[in-house]
């Protein structure tokens, strides 16, 4: 890591130069020589270091004098220059003039798809250079003074989030190894403290709520044989989750009865509300969260963000672990969603590591825990299929067969107690019909999806029969995830084809899968289309689309659109569950946890000065949410419209979710385009020398259009510029590509290796 850090100050200090170059591209050398006069103390930056071809100079010189200013600030600035170079060809300006850490979840998405128009870019670099000048005079000549010079600059632009500040602090204290244990400790503590509150159905006899359902399953699984699990007293919270939930319930029930048999006594324990049983139930949720979800999140930050500094990984970890919607539903309302989400996340992590078979098993476990994981199935399935296509006919079909066998076996094992050797064939119907309850209505309660929202004007249930509605919702859902699924398959096929072309030149040392960056967007689009259009959706199910979205947020910079949208959707999702949480008596927790998370990640919708009309939309949404809360406290609903507040809630939330769905599809296409385009470019124009690369890059800096070849060259230059020697080329390329499965840049860099 030292090496990487050591490259960064050059990158940052040369950024203003890059900005000037952009303004006067013909006189690059002159600008270079005038540059130090702009308030840069020459003892730190001697002009002699600069006269080289600009793009190479940006990253190549690593002299000892410059090590002095390396220490603290660097990754942030490094990111900034990366943005400078890459933003020019896309549409919208950054939401805030200065970006701190800018890459989105994948380098593909940030290097090629983050957006800034030239004007925005200039603003950006100017403020960046002024920041730099602000830093420089104070920094002095010794390394240790640099960190001290930083805080004023930070306070000035107010970009850092508490999570970031904390991560920096703990690293500065040299307590890096304490960071993850502390995050785990504090996040578990917060989870537990949410659990001090009431739960779903507390003190509402006869049926109670989700808490009682889960407890009842523990009760029935430990007292009844397998065959009766899905048939016992169905009206009172009959088991309607897949077998893994049943097994987990059985385990919890066994351990619980060992502690206190009255908690799970058959029939007599119904509706038990002793403090002891509550603590035990809460503890099981926290336990399984610690067992499945938290490790998978940590693994995520290690695999998907392995090219980031550990500080950034810690920030991402905090972002993911304090996600309010999941905390409130699992630890407040009481459910075990984190297990299902954790298994899916584990599958995604394993896919990123290339362990497709293990990943598939994890996803089966996720499906086997809660059928809501089906919302991800189109994306996961098409990803695996695309991976097979990617690998070419022989390896691809081998992988396909292995996946098919392993998946089927896992399912069989899960459902074994209801299958032939142990039970007659018809008995499998009991769990299946319980798990997929088409007999229920189109939607329950008020849920912010298409059906419920449109039901206000168009009474679906009066006009269409249930069967028609089932079919209609199925068709709409399929249409909803169709683009992302076909996108994955198409790009898988395309990469497979170009792979064949380039097979001779690349030494394939197991490159990561290039279509991997598409996966989060596909997951988001697929799950959101299920949420919006499928049959029998609960408001809690919004947690399923929130997972991929929050993954994207955790990897994006606070000024990026992804971050802004992701946080907005997270907040709106919590808001959409307000009627539920309020009924559970979790109003206080709702506000506290949401505020905590927003503060933690440094999100403040009022902070960003809106430039265009588009930027007012989040403010309008927040204002609407706020107004609704205020109205609800002040004015009781009119007698004629008792559901007016939940309905208004739905009307506010649904458009946001629908927009997210469309955005996910759009981003999927963009990312896919970048992958496809690059593959093409790499085959057509392998750049042969750094000089050529530099000149092309200068063109591309001018910002006209963007075709595949320019991008390829640019990435090659970036890769080349990061280091001079061949090993460092490799390392630098790996820096930005390896973990995220972005193989193209890596291959481009290996193409460059020969001339060096």
């Amino acid at each position: 890591m030292d090496e990487i850090y050591s490259m960064m100050p050059q990158a940052s200090s040369s950024s203003p130069r890059a900005a000037r170059l952009r303004k006067t591209p013909t006189t690059s050398r002159d600008t270079l020589h005038t540059f130090p006069e702009r308030g840069q103390p020459p003892r730190l930056k001697t002009p002699t270091l600069f006269p080289r071809s600009p793009s190479i100079g940006i990253r190549s010189n690593t002299s000892d004098t410059d090590h002095s200013e390396i220490i603290a600030p660097i990754p942030r600035k490094h990111m900034t220059i990366q943005r400078n170079e890459s933003q020019h060809w896309l549409g919208s300006p950054p939401l805030s003039p200065v970006s701190t850490v800018s890459r989105a979840l994948s380098p593909a998405s940030s290097t090629f798809l983050d957006t800034a128009n030239p004007r925005g870019l200039r603003r950006h670099t100017q403020s960046f250079s002024s920041l730099l000048e602000h830093d420089k005079p104070a920094s002095g000549s010794i390394a240790s003074s640099v960190p001290r010079a930083r805080p004023p600059a930070e306070n000035k632009n107010e970009e850092t989030s508490p999570a970031r500040r904390w991560a920096r602090w703990i690293h500065k204290q040299g307590l890096k190894q304490l960071a993850i244990p502390l995050i785990l400790l504090v996040s578990t503590l917060v989870r537990w403290c949410i659990g001090l509150g009431s739960y779903s159905g507390q003190g509402t006899p006869i049926m109670f709520g989700d808490y009682e359902a889960q407890r009842h399953w523990m009760e029935l699984t430990i007292h009844l044989p397998f065959r009766q699990w899905y048939t016992y007293d169905l009206p009172y919270w009959g088991l309607d989750y897949p077998p893994l939930t049943a097994y987990v319930s059985w385990l919890c029930g066994i351990v619980g009865s060992w502690i206190d048999p009255t908690w799970f006594a058959l029939y007599t324990s119904r509706g038990i509300e002793t403090p002891g049983s509550k603590v035990y139930m809460r503890a099981t949720v926290v336990f399984f969260d610690l067992l499945v979800y938290i490790p998978s999140v940590i693994l995520f930050t290690h695999t998907w963000q392995s090219n980031r500094s550990s500080r950034t990984q810690h920030v991402a970890l905090l972002t993911l672990l304090f996600q309010p919607a999941l905390l409130l539903i699992d630890f407040g309302h009481f459910q075990y969603n984190s297990v299902m989400l954790g298994f899916t996340l584990l599958a995604i992590d394993l896919f990123a590591k290339g362990q497709d078979v293990l990943g598939a098993i994890c996803f089966v476990l996720s499906l086997g825990f809660k059928q809501m994981a089906l919302y991800y199935a189109p994306a996961i399935g098409s990803y695996l299929l695309a991976k097979c296509l990617c690998l070419g006919f022989v390896e691809g079909s081998r992988l396909f067969i292995r996946l098919a066998i392993v998946t089927s076996i896992s399912f069989v094992i899960l459902f074994l107690p209801w299958l032939p050797p142990f039970a007659p064939i018809p008995s499998i119907l009991a769990p299946i019909s319980r798990i997929f309850p088409f007999a229920r209505g189109l939607f329950e309660d008020k849920v912010a999806n298409f059906w419920c929202a449109s039901n206000i004007v168009f009474k679906w249930r009066l006009w269409l029969s249930r069967d028609t509605l089932v079919k209609l919702s199925a068709v709409l859902t399929a249409l909803g995830f169709f683009p992302s699924v076909t996108g994955l398959l198409y790009h898988g096929y395309q990469v497979g084809a170009s792979e064949k072309l380039s097979k001779k030149e690349t030494s394939s040392n197991a490159p990561p899968v290039p279509i991997l960056p598409l996966l989060p967007y596909a997951l988001l689009a697929s799950s959101m289309s299920f949420f919006l259009f499928s049959f029998q959706v609960h408001e809690k199910t919004i947690l399923v689309p929130l997972l991929p979205l929050t993954l994207l947020v955790s990897g994006s910079s606070p000024s990026s659109f992804t971050f802004q949208l992701g946080v907005l959707v997270n907040n709106v999702a919590v808001f959409s569950m307000w009627p539920l949480l309020q009924r559970d008596g979790l109003a206080l927790q709702y506000f506290a946890v949401t505020l905590l998370w927003n503060r933690l990640i440094g999100y403040n919708p009022l902070k960003y000065k809106p430039g265009t009309l588009v930027h007012y939309i989040p403010l309008v949404i927040y204002a609407a949410c706020f107004t609704l809360h205020v109205l609800e406290t002040l004015i009781p609903p009119p007698a004629r419209l008792p559901d007016i507040y939940p309905v208004l809630n739905v009307l506010i939330s649904t458009p946001v979710f629908a927009f997210t769905w469309l955005w996910a599809i759009k981003r999927g296409i963009e990312v896919g385009w970048a992958i496809g385009g690059l593959g093409h470019a790499q085959a057509s124009s392998p750049s042969s020398s750094s000089a050529l690369a530099a000149s092309r890059s200068k063109q591309s800096v001018d910002g006209q259009g963007a075709n595949g070849s320019e991008r390829a060259v640019k990435s090659a230059v970036e890769a080349a510029g990061l280091g001079l020697g061949a090993p460092s080329v490799d390392r630098a390329a790996g820096l930005r590509t390896r973990s995220l499965g972005y193989a193209q840049a890596r291959r481009a860099s290996s193409a460059l290796r020969d001339p060096f």
Binding site: L175, L182, L185, V186, L189, L196
Partner: protein, 553 residues
Amino acid sequence: MASSPTSRRASKEDKQAQGDEQNAKKVEKSGSFWPTWQSVRELWSDISPFEWDVLVASTCFKVLLFPSYRSTDFEVHRNWLAITHSLPISRWYYDTTSEWTLDYPPFFAYFEKVLSIPAYFIDPKIVDLNNLNYDSWSVIAYQRTTVILTELVLGAAVHRFIRGSTDPSMQKIISASLFLHPGFLIVDHIHFQYNGFMFGILLWSILMARNGNKLASGFLFAVLLNFKHIYMYLAPAYFIYLLRSFCLSPSGALLPSHFLSLANAVILVFLVSLGPFLLMGQLPQLLSRLFPFTRGLNHAYWAPNAWALVTAADRVLLKVAQQFHVEGLQINASGVASTSRGLVGDTVFAVLPNIKPIHTFIVTIAFQVVYLIKLWRTPTYKSFLTALTLCGYTSFMFGWHVHEKAILLVLVPLSLLAAENQAFFRTFTLASVAGVFSLFPLMFTPAETFVKVAYSLAWAFLVLPPISKRVYEFPRSLPFVILDTLERAYIAGFALLQLFVLAFPLFSRTKLQGIEDEKGGMAFLPLMLTSVYCAVGLVWAFVRLSVIYLRQM
């Protein structure tokens, strides 16, 4: 209006010379310490992002604790809201509708009176005198909110400590550690009291002493005494410090203007507080409420002080005596019953000579005199702070019927000294770990057990390692190496102790059934062990601090 220049100048001065007497005069002349609108606004804009983070995060977390366990103190304070709201002032200290009669000084009663006004508008049942044990959501949310809001006094005080500190980055950690102290979390936000508020006043008073505004310091301490009289533990150090450094010139001559202004300020405070009751002739009644000398040496759960060790020794000796029938030991029959029960009431020793209140008083004074003589000779701010801590510590160690919560009187001023050097830091670590752990038995419900343990651990990991990195020194000689190892082992022992306390109920249910039935005292074992183990650490930290103070400063 004049407060901001005061504090700014004071902070500069502080850098130049800690506790410099010459500067005090200027500052004192330059005006009041009282927070004006301008200073509040300045304070607001002066809060750094880090401080906002701490404030927001801790507030969110404390809000999550609203539904947690509440002790009877919650009902005590609700009852006081009702008393002060529905009765005339003349009845406040006479009312016995509830068993939780008003037994705090008048300022706290006024404070409850102020709090009861919004309470009435939120839910009139809160302030209904006969509505005993009212625990609806409204009263819980209201009272818990008042704790969070009044704790902002503490927040403001520790915030001002950072400004004008000689080492702001370290003071930042210490200030945050005070604001987030597990002691306050356990005692205020779960157990329910207003310590954060009152320690805020104490810290404000100490801050004024640091900034050289000693008149304000004395005034604030007088105010504090009238909020809660337990702060009398600290009064001797204040008295000596203010007398020596404010009322006398360095050469020893009396400065009449200083003396008179301080005396007037203090008398004024007491007049405002006690005046109404003095006029009504209720002072004896008030004092009898404040100082009920009818309780025993130890609390139900022995506060981890010297007497806990003595009591434990007595029990061990009793066991030994019973086992081996040692000749010459007089076994007090009532003592056998007393110690085995360990309930509220007069603790009577079975073997050792009994302790009377006057004994504890004499021991306490004797120790305090030693420190006060030292303080008289070196009346600097640092010396004052140490003597203040030691005064509180002595009272905690040897006082009559000390409450375990009183350990906060030691931990809070000691925190301010934590980053002085390795010796202070190690003392602080020992005292904090043992002191916070000794508060754990306040909460015995399983849900809160995890909260208190996890929170204290997180606090310790966030506060102790950074300070340790800054001040660490290798032990210089073999005895110090041994001592260092022993202290580390002692701290590690708390993990085992906690495991034992957690496992004991399960253990006792299965294995100790018979024994428990026979003696009926085994349920007391985890508490006794906790108390004795913490007492060992706290007594050692007390010895450490005394030696450091008397030898080093």
